[in-house]
Amino acid sequence: MTEQELIFGLRQGEESAFKELVTRFQDKVFNTALGLLQHHMEAEDIAQEVFIQVFRSIQNFKEESLLSTWIYRITVTKSLDHLRSKKRKKRFGFIISIFGDNNLPVYEPEDFNHPGVLQENKEDAAILFKVIDQLPENQRTAFVLNKVEGLGYREIAAILNTTESAVDSLLQRAKQNLRKKLNEFPP
């Protein structure tokens, strides 16, 4: 099924087209969400929401970009929204703990282990993901799309709706920040 046929089928509400869409993109969407969120269950939830969003919004897809670019864009947006929401809840929980009797322990997740990392690199990669978690959103996104998802500068620029030189700049700054934080690690 070509991309045009796929889009046409989705607009007709054909289940076969939707199944083909999910089969074709589920790994890309999940891997991207996993790299950004560093949590398996959350990545699965977000991946599901991405496909639901695509299903609902396919009529609005203007085909000015590739279907894959559009799907990656939705994945990044939903993942970052989820991260912001988590941070807000964490901040609110901290304030409650100051003023209330609520002394529930804060759940600290274990180190994140990406399943695709080579065995000999797992320990170092877990440390790297910890410092990736501290990067600003745009640097984090560019770094994950490049290093975890393996996308080139052109694709990342299309997803982030920017230029290739801007992507290069983001990646350079991301690497500088990561090195700086690793030199200070542990904080």
């Binding site: 589920q26 999940f30 891997n31 996993l34 990669a125 790297l128 290093k147 030199n183």
Partner: protein, 106 residues
């Protein structure tokens, strides 16, 4: 005091994602996705059973009843004499009930 990483260690960490393979979506991802989409479709059909809708309908009926009651009470409070322009007389009473007021002897 915990030792900081050496430059070599930092370099090793920075390159730890080399050769990374993309993670595969969990098993039965499509099945779970379809399951998640089902309740959303069901909710659309039963919107009339939603508490918000039922409350709105009941409120409309309640308002209509209150307005009707107020109108009826206003009508009941007005004196009989003000209900019509004509003063209440025995002749008008008789006319209303079609009673012949003529004397038997006329």
């Amino acid at each position: 005091m915990q030792k900081k990483f050496s430059q070599q260690k930092v370099l090793g960490i920075m390159e730890s994602l080399q050769g990374i393979q993309p993670a595969a979506a969990p098993d039965f991802f499509y099945t779970r996705l379809k399951g998640k989409m089902q309740p959303a479709e069901r909710k659309k059909t039963f919107f009339m059973l939603r508490p918000a809708f039922i409350t709105a309908v009941l409120s409309v009926f309640l308002i209509m009843n209150v307005v009707s009651l107020i109108s009826i009470r206003k009508g009941a409070k007005e004196p009989v004499s003000m209900q019509s322009n004509k003063p209440a007389t025995i002749e008008s009473f008789a006319a209303a009930y079609n009673i012949n007021t003529g004397s038997f002897y006329e």
